[in-house]
Symmetry: C2
Subunit: 404 residues, 2 copies
């Protein structure tokens, strides 16, 4: 294989951040309890990776990669929280969670995966409202079999089982400084890997080859995981931003995009970059790229405390529609970001979620052009008193042309 | 940093396998329909990555990394299957699925994420049994918000919504030759990375550093993703097999394990390897390692068509209990493997799942020893007419001692 002409970007030594301190979790629990009171919940049964990790600190790859065993965290509005987990996780729980109280069972045990323990723990919770929360609402996925959840519903009566996803959503909408530090770290790692693209791409590469090298590069620069790396490539442009990688080989004249959600210490980045292979892009592509750059600027500026997610959409869309451009088919121009690749809110008409200091967003305008092509930009920001502040380094003003 | 003494294992060029052909999917659909008839289901609503990909061919990272939008596949017992997906996925669906019929909606739209389309599609399915399947049972996770599933349940009456996870489980228990080829590929890639461990580990490394390098190594050798890589390390041995990586630094005299679920073309490997750092392990650790090696042999031999998963457990356990060893706290000695890191069955007492030619299993005996330490072996096999056949290369008979 021919060597690339670009020199590889040296790897900066980055020391890993220490785990969150206890005060971080105590503050989260305190906020959660206040929101539970507002929502008239006596407690929450939490079953998903992001919410268990957020509230209990329990950090594991195992629990969320194997659906054989469910893992539960119970946070009452008053009284002690409990981990309710398979026996195999005791050491892991004790090493990572701030919560000392733990009930375990020998799993797998399909006929009773900890339901009796949950019944006992929830039965001991003080009932003021008669309502217990579980993750059921929009954008949620339940981390246990639904059939077991329905059995449990009957076992914990007179508690009524209701949605609590709107509570955890509101809770996680505002990130702490320690959380923002982790998201910024991941953004900077991915920026370095994007800057290294010229050294990664080689003649003969397929999309899959390049995506593997790109993911590998992010890991060696300090990412923990690379769950999401989509790619679109094609002669003069691409037609999907969520696909691939495929076995398609790169050619001169291609334009491609990589969009990546890398993960560091439990937090995601989510942004993309565009590249041209060996040839200057068409005037059309360059014009759209410039308009998207300006739309992104407008979105960043609009992300102020007190504005809502729809305002952030409007600011971006105005730049494009004023220029007579057809908006991309993504359905929104960015979204929340944090422990999940895409979190509420959605920057789209009708989303009236108010932005607060500490809200982390992607700014992601997209446009259709040419013969069914799409082009998209994306940056990650945090809302501050004075407006949106970049966590990524701003993308190049013009599409970089890579040697090939 | 000091250079490692071991030379890096060269990267073999492996050409990526082409996507499955249409016949593979038609056969899957045919088998699915036969099992639906047995289970008295008129159709299945499928919402999870592994089952959507298995039955429709639709391949995407996007859909399963962002919970904002649900993605559905409807397979009736009689009549045409339908994809029901967000508009943003049209290109991706058409490029990867064998199913031409597609309904889409502009998502995000939290108040109606495709439910009206599902109502229409399911309403058009011929009702013989009055029962429609959805993924609810043991080991399942539903790929849509539960609140939406409960709304849909009312919208599709008189169809009754019942569990179909036992159907997809039975379906995927037997792998096709093309599926086995993918699992074997992933196993061989991970074997190469394990063989390269001596070149990866360097003085000063933390667990996180080594796990990043190991994941990066698997990617560069052809893995698509590295979702699961746990590590246990400690002076003379480790006490958890599902934890980490942590910020702990390696020291001379450590024994460590890496257990990995890498993914290639939608299929997992799942196995581990043990290493000693700079010093020969204790007699105790070496004795346990040898017994686990023998237990693994016994498990491989026991994995015959017509045996059940409990037999595979018994064969392994006998080797250990005959030697007076306390069994590990994992709850089982291996499990099914394929599109998910852990699939049914469980090699444990009471699991009477019959093994068939084409069943892929992990053989995974573990033992407790010393002061709360655990040691575990793992290999991946496929059941053939003549017994278990390795997909991995057998682990070294003695724990390798790495230079440091």
């Amino acid at each position: 294989m021919a060597k690339p002409k670009a020199k590889s970007l040296p790897i900066k030594a980055r020391r890993d951040l220490p785990p969150f301190d206890r005060a971080e979790f105590e503050k989260r629990a305190e906020r959660a309890r206040a929101k539970m009171t507002e929502a008239k919940l006596d407690g929450m049964l939490i079953t998903t990776e992001h919410n268990v990790e957020y509230l209990s600190g329990f950090t594991t790859q195992f629990a969320w990669n194997t659906p054989t065993r469910p893992w539960y965290f119970v946070l009452p509005r008053e009284g002690k929280p409990f981990g309710v987990i398979p026996e195999i996780g005791i050491t892991n729980w004790q090493a990572t969670s701030w919560v000392p109280d733990l009930l375990t069972w020998p799993s797998p045990r399909p006929e009773n995966e900890g339901l009796d323990l949950l019944q006992k723990v929830i039965g001991g919770v003080k009932s003021k409202f008669g309502r217990f929360g579980v993750e059921l609402g929009p954008e949620s996925r339940l981390g246990m079999p639904v059939a077991d959840m329905l059995r449990l519903r009957d076992m914990i009566r007179p508690f009524e089982l209701v949605d609590c996803f709107h509570v955890t959503r509101a809770l996680r909408l505002v990130k702490s400084p320690a959380e923002i530090e982790r998201i910024r770290r991941m953004c900077q790692i991915a920026c370095d890997s994007f800057d290294n693209m010229g050294a990664l791409l080689r003649p003969g590469d397929t999309e899959r080859d390049l995506v593997r090298k790109f993911q590998s590069d992010m890991l060696l620069r300090g990412a923990d995981k690379t769950p999401y790396t989509s790619i679109g490539s094609g002669a003069g442009g691409y037609d999907s931003i969520i696909m691939g990688p495929t076995n398609r080989k790169f050619r001169k004249g291609d334009i491609f995009l990589i969009d990546t959600g890398g993960r560091y210490a439990g937090y995601f980045c989510d942004f993309d970059r565009n590249y041209a292979v060996a040839r200057k892009p068409s005037d059309d592509a360059r014009r759209i790229h410039e308009l998207l750059y300006k739309a992104t600027d407008a979105g960043i500026k609009a992300a102020r405390p007190g504005s809502d997610a729809a305002d952030v959409f409007d600011a971006q869309a105005k730049v494009l529609t004023d220029a007579g451009i057809v908006l991309g088919n993504v359905g929104r121009f960015g979204h929340g970001l944090g422990k999940v690749l895409t979190e509420p809110p959605s920057n789209m008409p009708g989303d009236s979620t108010l932005l607060e200091v500490g809200t982390v967003l992607t700014i992601e305008p997209s446009a259709m052009y040419g013969d069914g092509k799409i082009l998209v930009h994306e940056e990650n920001i945090v809302v501050t008193e004075t407006g949106g502040k970049l966590l990524t380094r701003r993308c190049p003003r013009e599409i970089p042309v890579l040697d090939f």
